[in-house]
């Protein structure tokens, strides 16, 4: 990649030998390098969390069965993590399973999905889209990366020392009493506490950047929708994350110093912890999904060469979702609150459905009479629309009080949030990763194999999680290491699906590696986008733009604007134009 010939030199150009390069990256304040360092750190944690998920699914392939044979000997089968012989001291199967699902949840939530899109793609793209040289506080940006790595190291240490069996929600009083002789739980909680600071600093940085560093001529409603969504998520990060920080600190105090806050044995109240926890963890769900929605808006408009339908509605829906997200936390606790609180939180919860539905309608309306390029980013957009619609609609029975009493804490909830978080955020990340891959690394990827990978992930995803809706409404509770036999067929299909997803991501991994090694050089504007990141080179030079860009058109004015770097003679016949721009 370093061979990109440009007189300024791309941000990827090596500065010297190995150690010089390491030092250059380790001390960089360039938002693009920090974004890429986030991307690789997050993908690494995604791999670890994914492996834990595979182990969980592997264990659940069979229910555990206990038989007593004619000789009176007991046999345990189907417990993947248990040495079934009687010579060991403690039956470890459930214990290991509980640690694995905690590991999967904690890593995926705190170390992957929360930072995934804002910290990696957001860091790289936000200043470029605004026409800025960098974020508002570049050194704070580097600090937040180091804080992220430190928090992750705390968590990895906790796993290394034997893992944590609290579930990622750390519900008290279980979390303040389990593994009482060990520091692992305190380490894991402190890890999440530290990660919170990384999230706050990133959010703060982005909010200030959007306010102060927009290019000349760029009003609020000239910003790409991805910027709007990262801005809305940044506000939530700044306002909500301190609450989880304080809560986790209180939890640590209670564990280590036996101060009674949440544990009734010490005079505390366990439901108080749930209120504190969800006061953060519900808004943060929108930190996870809003940037994914932003990616979908942008990729959809560019790949369809069509002005996004209802730009202002989508922008205000982002802010509306961010606002409402602070008053719906109680819907995680319908089974432990008063009737009045349940009623209030159920009615408020339905409010969130409205702006979310409006966004989906806008996206589908954008497809109408557009020019849809069916490449990998667009295939991921369609996958997102499919999965996210299921995720959103299955939120209705969970927000409805009567049905939630049946579905709460079952696999229905597990399926619902995987459809939203993985089907939404991770599919959005995959769409964005392919869409901006040429911009990140200056190389094209293999379109055919990327689409094959996307379809494999899509099939595997539905096998894995659609079955779990049935498991849940049929009564299978969450976090069970073993289950009654009649659930087995559903669990088996789900486990097979998980391996198909794994295969899909392996295909993507090879596509990306092949692109970095042999990929065709990318043009500056391969898809014909109008936003400012497409004005910059692929990959961008160190200071982003040779001259400060001036904004003269809206982000999606495809009807009357020739995309930068495109030949006016070729526009608006996009397919020929794309062919022409391939050198």
């Amino acid at each position: 990649m370093s061979d990109h010939a440009h007189h300024h030199g791309s941000y990827l150009t090596l500065k010297g030998g190995f150690w010089t390069t390491v030092k250059d990256w380790a001390t960089t304040v360039d938002h693009k390098k920090i974004g890429m360092m986030y991307l690789f750190a997050i993908l690494f944690m995604f791999f670890i969390g994914g492996m834990a998920a595979m182990a969980v699914r592997f264990e659940l392939f069979e229910p555990v069965r206990t038989h007593v044979d004619a000789a009176g000997t007991m046999h345990i089968t189907g417990q993947a993590f248990a040495p079934a012989d009687a010579g060991t001291d403690i039956k470890p199967g459930n214990n290991i399973y509980n640690r694995l699902f905690t590991l999967h949840g904690a890593i995926m939530v705190f170390m992957v999905i929360v930072p995934s899109i804002p910290a990696s793609l957001g860091n790289f793209l936000l200043p470029l889209m605004l026409g800025a040289k960098d974020v508002a506080f570049p050194r704070l940006n580097l600090l937040s990366w180091y804080i992220y790595v430190t928090g992750s190291l705390f968590a990895i240490t906790a796993i290394w020392l034997g893992g944590v069996d609290t579930g990622w929600t750390f519900y008290t009083p279980y979390s303040t009493t389990t593994d009482a002789d060990y520091w692992r739980v305190a380490l894991m909680v402190l890890g999440a506490f530290i990660l919170g600071f990384s999230s706050i600093l990133t959010g703060l940085n982005f909010v200030v950047t959007v306010h102060k560093l927009r290019a000349p001529g760029m009003g609020w409603f000239d910003m790409p929708l991805f910027v709007w969504s990262v801005y809305a998520a940044g506000i939530i990060q700044v306002l909500a994350t301190p609450v989880i920080g304080i809560t986790l600190l209180l939890l640590t105090f209670e564990r280590v110093f036996r101060v009674g806050i949440f544990d009734p044995a010490l005079g505390g109240d366990p439901v108080l912890f749930q209120h504190f926890f969800w006061f953060y963890s519900h808004p943060v769900v929108y930190v996870m999904i809003l940037p994914g929605m932003g990616i979908i808006s942008d990729v959809l408009a560019v790949q369809c060469h069509k002005k996004i339908f209802g730009y202002r509605a989508i922008a205000f829906a982002s802010l509306g979702i961010a606002g409402v997200s602070f008053i719906v936390w109680g819907h995680h606790m319908f089974t432990s609150m008063s009737e009045l609180a349940d009623m209030v939180f159920s009615s408020l919860t339905f409010l969130v459905a409205i702006p979310t539905a409006v966004k989906v309608f806008n996206w589908i309306a954008t497809l109408y009479k557009s020019s849809i390029a069916l490449n990998a980013p667009m295939v991921y957009v369609l996958i997102f629309l499919f999965l996210f619609s299921i995720g959103g609609l299955t939120g209705l029975p969970l927000g409805t009080l009567s049905t939630d009493l049946h579905l709460h804490d079952t696999y229905f909830v597990v399926a619902h949030f995987h459809y939203v978080m993985m089907g939404g955020t991770i599919m959005g990340l995959m769409a964005g990763l392919h869409h901006w891959w040429p911009k990140f690394f200056g190389r094209m990827y293999n379109e055919k194999w990327a689409i094959i990978g996307a379809i494999t992930v899509f099939i595997g995803f539905n096998l894995t999680f659609f079955t779990q809706f049935f498991l849940g409404s049929r009564g299978m509770p969450r976090r069970y290491a073993s289950y009654i036999d009649e659930f087995q067929i559903w669990h088996q299909i789900s486990t097979i699906g998980a391996f198909v997803i794994f295969l899909g991501f392996l295909i993507h991994l090879f596509v990306f590696i092949a692109s970095l090694a042999y990929g065709r050089k990318a043009p500056a504007n391969p898809w014909g986008g109008l936003t400012l990141e497409w004005v910059a080179d692929s990959p961008p030079e160190e200071h982003n733009f040779a001259h400060e860009p001036l904004v003269t058109h809206g982000p999606y004015d495809f009807e009357n604007t020739v995309p930068p770097h495109w030949d006016p003679a070729d526009y608006p016949i996009p397919e020929e134009n794309r062919t022409a721009s391939r050198h």
């Binding site: 206990t66 189907g78 403690i90 369809c304 009623m343 539905a357 497809l367 849809i372 629309l385 009564g475």
Partner: protein
């Protein structure tokens, strides 16, 4: 949201479990709607107030399916119609339409208001128990359910599924029951899928659920013992896992019954997934006759201890056959030396002194953290307030009877003077997950 593939999968599941077989009669009864209901909820709701949940659940199911199909159909049509093709220039099209945007905001909002109120009314039905409801108390602990009937008797019934002993709670049909719940340690949740009810159980305050079970419709007739009469259970019966006086069995013989799983739905640690019980619904008159017979007064200390072992959760972690589990086995505990994680130890001579041993056992039951046997964790919750003194005496007597050093007077079979205990012939009812052969799964 329903794919043909998924549909056939549900059919497969039905076929695998004869209880839900897709008999033509079933289809004729309710038609396609009934079939979808079974695919989704597995069974009809078994309580009067659960039926409203099913109604709104199925309404939502169709509502979501239609919306999803509508949106996806639009998406597919647009993608096919407007895909990028060489030479095709995208026509001018609007990117904003105020009436349309107002319509697609207001119409979903009206639907959501309707859904909220339906859900809320049905929820109030499920929450507010009638004044004449029978109150039962449930105590949840790591990892056991125990239930106290309105007359103060504690439930002592169990059944065997696979090789696992599971508590059985008898409940009258067509009678409102309010369950008052409390936790001995961490949070648990009371979840009976067939009843469509769930409530968290807290250690610091009472929570309640109520339900009114419908008459048993499973077609099953209660056998002579509590334990089902299939072969696995018959062998368990032969091995001495059922007990109780003749009256106790007689009261329920021949009455129809229906079983429903009770699960713990709030994560509570190692044996969370084994924390199951069965709610067995029987006609009210049979229930009343049976309830009068379940006192514990006439049992010997050892038999009382055995009953506590099986119904108070000891069995979840302690075996009686020498196999290790989450806690140390009870076999040969009395009369054999033991070491603890803090490095201290009790010698064989100390452990053979009945008074010394009884004090040690009592301390371990009431203050489990005081002495942790080497190789085990400090997982156990205190039984202070759960077992009274008579029950504790019984449990200790039962533990001592499981030892090859058991005092002659206490030995289970005095005819075996060499000290060979009778109990080792009993296969270990070791806690293993609630995996039941399909034929014995309660429905």
């Amino acid at each position: 949201m329903m794919f043909p593939a998924i549909l056939s999968m549900t059919g497969l599941t039905h076929a695998m479990h004869s209880n839900f077989s897709l008999a033509p009669a079933t289809l004729a009864k309710g038609g396609i709607l009934d079939w979808f209901h079974k695919a989704w909820f597995r069974t009809d709701a078994a309580t009067a107030n659960g039926v409203s949940t099913d109604n709104i659940g199925m309404w939502l199911w169709w509502f979501c399916t239609l919306w999803f199909v509508f949106l996806m159909a639009l998406m597919v049509v647009f993608v096919v119609r407007y895909r990028r093709r060489k030479g095709r220039i995208a026509p001018k099209s609007p990117s904003h339409n105020t009436p349309l945007e107002i319509a697609w905001t207001v119409i979903p909002t009206l639907f959501l208001v309707y859904i909220f109120f339906r859900g809320f009314w049905s929820y109030m039905e499920k929450l507010v128990a009638p004044g004449n409801a029978v109150e039962m108390s449930v105590l949840a602990s790591k990892w056991n359910w125990s239930l106290t009937y309105p007359n103060g008797s504690e439930s002592n019934a169990t059944t065997v599924i696979g090789s696992r002993v599971i508590p059985v709670f008898y409940m009258p049909a067509e009678r409102a029951i309010r369950v008052k719940m409390n936790s001995q340690d961490v949070m648990h949740a009371f979840f009976v899928p067939d009843f469509r009810v769930k409530a968290d159980i807290l250690p610091n305050r009472y929570t309640t659920v109520w339900f009114k079970a419908l008459q048993p419709s499973s077609g099953k007739i209660h056998p002579r013992t509590q334990v089902d009469a299939d072969s696995a259970h018959a062998s368990a019966t032969a091995n001495g896992l059922t007990y109780g006086g003749p009256n106790y069995i007689k009261e329920l013989e021949g009455v129809p019954y229906e079983d429903h799983w009770l699960f713990c739905a709030e994560y509570c640690g190692d044996e969370h997934s084994e924390m199951a019980a069965i709610i067995r619904v029987v006609p009210e008159d049979a229930y009343n006759r049976w309830l009068e017979t379940i006192g514990t007064g006439s049992l010997s200390p050892k038999d009382l201890g055995k009953r506590m072992y099986e119904t108070k959760g000891c069995i979840t972690c302690h075996t009686i056959d020498g196999a290790p589990n989450t806690g140390p086995t009870w076999k040969n505990m009395f009369g054999h030396g033991v070491t603890f994680t803090d490095g201290s130890a009790y010698s064989e001579a100390q452990m053979s002194d009945p008074t010394f041993f009884q004090n040690y056992a009592r301390e371990s039951i009431l203050v489990p953290q005081a002495k942790i046997v080497t190789g085990f964790g400090s997982q156990m919750s205190s039984y202070q307030g759960v077992l009274n003194d008579k029950m504790i005496d019984g449990v200790i007597a039962y533990i001592m009877s499981l030892s090859d050093k058991a005092p002659a007077a206490e030995a289970p079979e005095p005819a075996a003077p060499t000290g060979q205990p009778a109990s080792p012939q009993v296969p270990a009812p070791t806690p293993a997950p609630a995996s039941a052969p399909p034929s014995s799964a309660p429905h």
